[in-house]
């Protein structure tokens, strides 16, 4: 039973992010950024308790740690996950990370390195970070707070940092079977790669968003999932858990103007 209640778009996206981890079982769930992290935490607190999480440094916890200042809260640890250990985890394939790349293309290839020309880029960002290794070794989901054609680019991303389903990039002797891109959670919709040849499909639209709006803000053609519907609204129980996991309401600062979860006529993009 769903309870009707007010919720923000950020909260809707947290719940959508949480769904990406459903049924993952015992793997490390890494949500990078407030909304992905709350999504992973919510997943563990509700439908997928087997998930493993860290304190966002190097210690494992069985209870997700609230985001922001902790006051007197002293986490209880269940194990160790130093940065060095993370590579054992990644290379062993025991992880699902949700990250926010700067660019994504129709193959699910991602970019966190540069925009523009590689030798003299228009914008230099972080560097490829762990994207090459994460993307080829374990499940990844993507988080895009501003769904637009700068994020979802036509052609390929400017510097392919994370692998995708682009056959031209793979030789017959490379193992592509260890990679999976699960969901893309944006401020407009949830997408997946379950179309023909891993084509990107819109899986659900956030309340008040149309497929046409999503397509107009995407640099490549999208498919509709046959059962494409509205993104699930947060339940009262989920909202209560989210509030406990984010006592300082950091989620309200993740999206510009903290829009409501159900668009009103005045909340145009």
């Amino acid at each position: 039973m769903t309870t009707h209640c007010e919720f923000t778009l950020a909260e809707l996206m947290i719940v959508a992010a949480s769904e990406a981890f459903r049924g993952d079982g015992e793997i490390l769930a890494s949500g990078l950024g407030i909304i992905p992290r709350l999504g992973a935490s919510l997943a563990k607190m509700t439908h997928t308790p087997e998930l493993m999480m860290t304190d966002s440094e190097c210690l494992l916890v069985e209870e997700p740690i609230p985001v922001g200042p902790r006051g007197d809260y002293e986490p209880k640890y269940s194990g160790y996950m130093s940065f060095e250990r993370v590579f054992e985890c990644v290379w062993g394939g025991k992880r699902h990370a949700m990250i926010g790349p700067t660019q994504i293309d129709r193959f699910g290839q991602t970019n966190l390195s540069i925009v523009g020309d590689y030798d003299k880029p228009k914008v230099a960002m972080l560097g490829v970070r762990g994207l090459p290794g994460n993307s080829i070794n374990h499940i990844n989901s993507l988080f895009v707070p501003n769904h637009n054609t700068r994020a979802f680019v036509a052609g390929e991303v400017d510097m392919v940092s994370g692998v995708g389903y682009n056959p031209a990039r793979w030789s017959e002797h490379m193992r592509q079977d260890l990679m999976e891109i699960r969901h893309i959670v944006t401020n407009l919709c949830v997408m997946d790669f379950e179309g023909p040849d891993h084509a990107i499909r819109v899986r659900s639209l956030h309340p008040g968003v149309t497929f046409e709006e999503v397509q107009a803000n995407t640099g490549f053609e999208l498919l509709k999932a046959p059962d494409m519907g509205e993104t699930a609204h947060p339940t009262a129980e989920q909202l209560a858990i989210i509030a406990r996991l984010d006592p300082h309401n950091l989620r309200a600062r993740q999206l510009k103007d903290n829009p409501p979860g159900i668009r009103t006529a005045s909340t145009d993009q």
């Binding site: 308790p49 493993m52 210690l59 494992l60 069985e62 269940s78 194990g79 054992e88 290379w91």
Partner: protein, 290 residues
């Protein structure tokens, strides 16, 4: 999620012909309670992968071992493992004999799911001659020839730890965790036995570092106090040299293995503890001085 099980349930997961790895090192922190359960079982034709101690010799003695992948087999205080020696000399087992470093390198390859890792170790020795090992050349200007150590993929790993919780979180409190984390990572499934099992490990920062592999690698948790006996389990207890001598003698005595099985193994773990003076005595065996 509760991964607790009995030794019998753990061993029931084995199938003839499986490749199984053991944690520990020589006569140190071996999952012997599980080994004894294997000795009592019908399972056979195992490929055993270990830095070998008495688990290797006992499984050889019982005819469970088709192939042994190892860097050594020893009881340390008694250098030569008696049953390994006897069975090996009789030509009754296949062997893949590796340098100690190659061995952990092969486990590491398996854990990171690569087919091989390169090393200099083993080149220019008969390790290359007696095993189906290939070499590769560096693709860079140096062109160096290296041995390609193949991944040692395990169907099952057994590891004995000092403490575990029902979720499969584990602690190794001895000063040296050996290579158990690599054994666990190399395996399709891993079952740990533990001196102590609690509902939940709730650790501080420092103690949490004694966790050396993650619970997603662990499919079963067996409560097995003194479960490493007669090997040592630092800091809890040392090895049992008198038991080890008794075991060594079984390799020279007529019908020695059957007598050892009857005296120590066939009666089950409670009887084993009684036959070794009880858990209090077993738990107070002093740590050896090296």
């Amino acid at each position: 999620m509760n991964k607790q099980m009995t030794t019998a349930e753990a061993v029931a997961q084995l199938r003839d012909g499986m490749t199984i790895g053991f944690g520990g090192w020589g006569p140190r922190r071996k999952p012997m309670a599980i080994v004894r359960e294997i000795l009592r079982s019908d399972v056979k034709d195992l490929t055993v992968v270990a830095y070998g101690g008495p688990e290797v010799g006992m499984l050889c003695a019982a005819g469970k071992v088709k192939k042994l992948i190892f860097g050594f087999a020893t009881l340390d205080a008694i250098p030569l493992e008696p049953w390994f020696r006897k069975v090996r000399q009789a030509g009754e087992i296949e062997v893949m004999e590796l340098d100690e470093g190659m061995f952990q390198w092969g486990l590491r390859a398996a854990g990171m799911r690569v087919p091989f890792l390169p090393t200099r170790c083993g080149l220019a020795t008969d390790v290359l001659k007696y095993n189906d090992l290939r070499t590769i050349r560096s693709p860079y200007d140096d062109g160096e020839e290296l041995l390609a150590m193949p991944a040692l993929n395990l169907d099952m790993a057994f590891v004995h730890v000092n403490k575990a919780d029902t979720l499969g979180n584990t602690l190794i409190t001895g000063s040296d965790p050996y290579f158990d984390h690599l054994v666990a990572r190399a395996a399709e499934r891993c079952i740990v036995s533990a001196e102590e099992v609690v509902e939940r490990l709730e650790l501080d920062r420092d103690t949490a570092r004694l966790n050396t592999f993650e619970r997603y690698l662990v499919q079963g948790v067996v409560h097995a106090p003194k479960g490493a006996h007669p090997t040592m389990c630092a800091p809890n207890y040392g090895w049992d040299l008198s038991h080890l001598k008794r075991y060594v003698a079984s390799a020279s005595d007529d019908n020695g293995w059957q007598v050892y099985m009857d005296e120590f193994v066939n009666g089950g773990e409670d009887a084993y503890q009684a036959a070794n003076g009880g858990v209090a005595a077993m738990g107070s065996l002093p740590l050896p001085t090296f």
